[in-house]
Structure formats: structure tokens, C-alpha cells
């Protein structure tokens, strides 16, 4: 999905500094301080987690921290709501499978 470089009402989008983070070990770039989910969306990542029983994909749904569809493993901590957690340089983000973290491969 594309970022809006200039908006007809809001003008140019203000961002923090560009930083690198890791999504399932792949380096990606985003802007520091924006929600992790926004950086992932800009990079084309739609699936944030799989449900435990039916193994169904989930992604952003409410974007305000209420539905928990967007939770992922962030720096080893599972169940982090990525839509309200700011991106920090070097963050390691992983697709979450059920409630147990996927194995972290170095």
C-alpha cells in the first residue's frame, strides 16, 4: 500500500527519521515513531498473525488498539498490539502463530 506523500487538506505527511527494522528476519524500512502496523502496511505486509485453532490469518482491523487482530511478536514479546506500538530502529517483528511465539531463528 502506498504512503500519501501529499494530501489535499493535510499537506505533506510528517514523519520521523527513516529506520530499518526486521520482519520475520527480512530487513524493511519505516519511520521511527509511527505505529508498527503502518510501517508493515507500507511494506505490503497484510498478515500479522494466525489464529490458534483454525490457523486463519488476521491483519489490521480497528487500528486503535481495541480488537487485538494485529498482535505480533515484537522483540521477543508476544501479543503486542502493533497498531498502537511505535516503531523503533532495529525492532525485530515476527508473525505470531496462535498465542505461542514462533521460533526465533538468529
Amino acid at each position: 500500500m502506498s504512503r500519501i506523500s501529499e494530501h489535499p487538506i493535510l499537506g505533506p505527511t510528517e514523519t520521523g527519521p527513516k529506520v530499518t527494522f526486521f520482519m520475520d528476519n527480512q530487513p524493511m524500512s519505516g519511520y521511527a515513531g509511527e505505529p508498527i502496523a503502518v510501517a508493515l502496511k507500507a511494506a505490503g505486509v497484510m498478515i500479522h498473525r494466525y489464529t490458534q485453532k483454525a490457523h486463519e490469518p488476521r491483519g489490521i482491523f480497528c487500528a486503535i488498539g481495541r480488537c487485538t487482530d494485529c498482535v505480533m511478536i515484537v522483540d521477543g514479546i508476544p501479543n503486542v498490539r502493533t497498531c498502537i506500538t511505535p516503531l523503533v530502529a532495529g525492532m525485530k517483528i515476527q508473525t505470531q502463530d496462535g498465542v505461542t511465539p514462533l521460533e526465533v531463528s538468529q
Binding site: 489535499p8 507500507a42 498478515i47 489490521i60 482491523f61 488498539g65
Partner: protein
Amino acid sequence: MKRYDLIIVGAGPSGLSAAIEAAKCGMSVAVFDENAKPGGQLFKQIHKFFGSKEHQAKIRGYKIGETLLSQADEAGVQVFLNATVAGIYLDKEVLVQLNGAMEHFKADTIIVATGAAENMVTFAGWTLPGVIGAGAAQTMMNLYGIQPGQRVLMLGSGNVGLVVSFQLMQAGCDVVALVDAAPRVGGYGVHAAKIARCGVPFYLSHTITRAEGSDCVTGVEIAQVDEHFTPIPGTEKQFDVDTICLAVGLSPMSQLLKMAGCEMVDDPRRGGQVPLVAENGETSIPGIFAAGDVSGIEEASSAMIGGRMSGLAAAAYLGFLSEQDKDHRLAELEVALESLHQGMFAPGSKGKAIAKTDEGIEVSQSLLKKGYLDDADLKRFIRSNKTELTNKKSGVHPVIECTQNIPCNPCQDACAKGCIKIGKTITALPQIDEDSICTGCGMCIASCSGQAIFLVDEDYEPGYASITLPYEFLPLPQKGEVGTALSRSGQPLSTAEIIDVRNAKAFDHTALVTMKVPADQAMTARFYKS
């Protein structure tokens, strides 16, 4: 345990308005909001608001939010962010999750202004990534500058569905269809017309039957529904989309009030479970008030008035304001609130089919079913003795396609020449004053929250008319360029030449684009595509 005279839950328009009034009366006020940023829904709203001057009409929502924040700051209100209120207990003790720890606060009065949560609907595939709430779409595009999707189908034709569809297009997304199971558009006709003329097709009496895709949304199927809202086999239509946006209503987030022991009622007209409240927001528990969407789904303008009322009532309850002053100020606010509660979209009229305006004019069925006025509706806009009414030099005159009784009147205030009359009742339809002469200044177009005003000159040049329209997209057309004139339904009509583009500061990001079209399209061409 920290103590305050007043604790407010929720820093949306109603909570902040309450805080400002109470703090101005000398109360110590703390506001808690679970978000990292204050303002509630207001900062996602980038359109110009309805209402009249006292309701801050024609000002964009996020600007109103900025003003509220600075006023709260000036009045000495303490706003705590990332602070989720988990419970309200006996003796007005408030439990707050703050910085990862639970903290207790105590107040002598409490105002709950927690707003509303979005409703959901289910259909096959509704949990797929790519199905999102309308609020999520707004958050992504208007707060974080990212497109929620490239091709979007919107479910819901209330004001939220209509406004968010327009905002999606402003963010550069394609809205491929607007779908609603109801037989009529639920929101304001002017909001519907704004997106219809961009070419968005309306499917009323339709619903989503399934979202397609295995990992994420790749398409959607809709079908017509019968009078019991059951899909009719054989009427299915398919669209390739990557995003399905749901705008199917809001429900008050009233759990905290229930938990505190306030008497609750189930009121579908107010959106579900709501507290039993007096006019000033006081609940069944003395000293606990509710304001804004949590006590009945309305809109930001009334949420702000409701907030101010409960702020004053709380101040009077503790003796920071005399009963006499309170009554006087509440009476003023009641008048302002009452003026918003008139017209076809008044809280009591929800879902009702209204055949005629207050003026006795038939309501356009085309507007309600397809989102735009059709030729039959236009007769009353076509003037008979045009030389009398227009600017003799330029021939320009306003055409106001605002046909429902909505609480709104900035067009009247905008015209220094007195061409536009609404009168005291702000829900009355705007009328053109035939004795005033239009200078073509364009202030009415830029002030119209519904983008429903056009300037037309039938005799711009032999064989050609000029049409000036509001334009809030990028890239802005350039003077001299040639493109296509579109009808009210977004259908291409003819070649159009851009003869003027105005973008004054006073227009607040609504550019005025003037195009030259064949004379016979003066009353049909209403949009332009490069």
C-alpha cells in the same frame, strides 16, 4: 491517592469541552484518555463541519480539536494520555491503568465521555486481512498518511460511510462501490452527491455476501436483498478489491457507567445501552455525569455542547458556579443544541422515510437511491428570468443543490452580498435572494460544508457556459488544461477547458475550479476529470 474536583474519562470533543467549562469555574480537573493523542474522533475528521457559527460550522474537525486542546491547556486542565480507566467505584474512586501500573484517583464529580465503538457485521470471509472498520481507514490515512487500500468497497451509507468514502478518494484510493442493505441513503444527501459525482456507484438494498481471498482480501461479492434483508439468488455482483471498509453504525461505550451503578436504558434511537440522564447529563447517581456519544450517538457538534453542559452542571453541583448562573448558561446551550436537533435528520427521525421538506418540496428519490439529483429534481434550480438575477457584467450566479433540511447555514454567512438566505431556523433550505447581485467571489462555495454550491454562467461565451465547482483533490487541475466534464453521477459528458483555478487562504483548502463546457451542459456538468 490523588484528588481532583472533577475527573473526566475521555479526551474527545465532549470530554475536553466539559473540562474547559469546569476548569474556567475554578475546579481542578483531570482528563484521562487511553490514546497516545487527545481529541477522540475529532483529529480524523478533515472535512468542514455543519451547524452554524456558534457550532463552529465550516471549520474542519481537526482544527476544532486543536482549538479545544489549547483552551484546555490555558484553563489549566490536566490531560493524562495512555491512561485507560478500568473502573469507577463507590465514593467516586477511579482506577486508571497508567504507564503499565494501576493507580487510584478520587474525585468529587465524574464525567464519563468515553464515546462510541464501531459496530460490526459478519459475512463469509469477514475476518480476512483487508476487511477494516471505517474508523481504522480514517486513522491510517488521516493520522498516519498511509492508504488503507488501493481499491475499496464501502459498506454503509450513513454519514460515516459517505464521509470516509470521500476521504478515501482524497487519499488517492479508488472507491469501487458504496453498498447498504437499507433501501435509502442514510446520511446527508450532500455527502452522497459529493462521491456520486466522482463516479462511485451506489448499491442500496444490497449487502456483502462474501469476501474473497485466502491470505487477504482479493475481491468481494455483493447481492441484492429482499424486504427481510435476505440476499436474492441470481443478483450477485463481484468486484476486485483489496479492502472492504465497514461503516455500519456506532454503539455507546457505556460499560463504565453501568459498572458504577448508573441506571441504564436500552434505547435504539440513541444507539443501544445508554445511561438514564437529565438534560445536563447527570446520571441516576448524583455527581456522575455522561456526555457525548456515550449517552446517545450523535455528532461532534452536539457532543461539544453536551460536554459543556455537564461541565457547568458539575461545577454547580460542587458550588463553583451559582445555581442562577448555571441555569442561565445552560439555557443558552440548550438553544444551541435544539437548533441542531431540527430537520430531517433529527434524532427522532432516524430511519424514517420523509417525503417532503419543511418547505413542502418533494425529497429527491434519486438522491436517496443513487446519491445524486436527477433531471426531474432540477427544474426548480433553472431560472426563468436570468438577466434580472445575475451579475450584469459577468452573468455568474450561484446554484445551490442542497435539498434536505439539515442543520447548517455557513453559506448564508459567507455571502457578503446577501444572495443566500436561510433565516433563523438553520435547517431551512438555502434560498437565493433574487434582489441581490452575485459578484462571483466564491466564498459560498468554499464555506459550504456539503460542497453543494456551484457558480454557473449560462452565457460565458457564445455556445459555452462556465461552471465553478469545489475541488479538494490532488493534483489540482491547471488553468488552460483540457479534460472531461462529468455529470452528477460521474458520467463523462464532454470536453471541458479549465479557465480558472482559485485557491485563496480564506477557502481553507477547497480550491475553486472553473471549467468551460458546451452551453447545454450548464445544469448537468458538475465535476471535472483531468
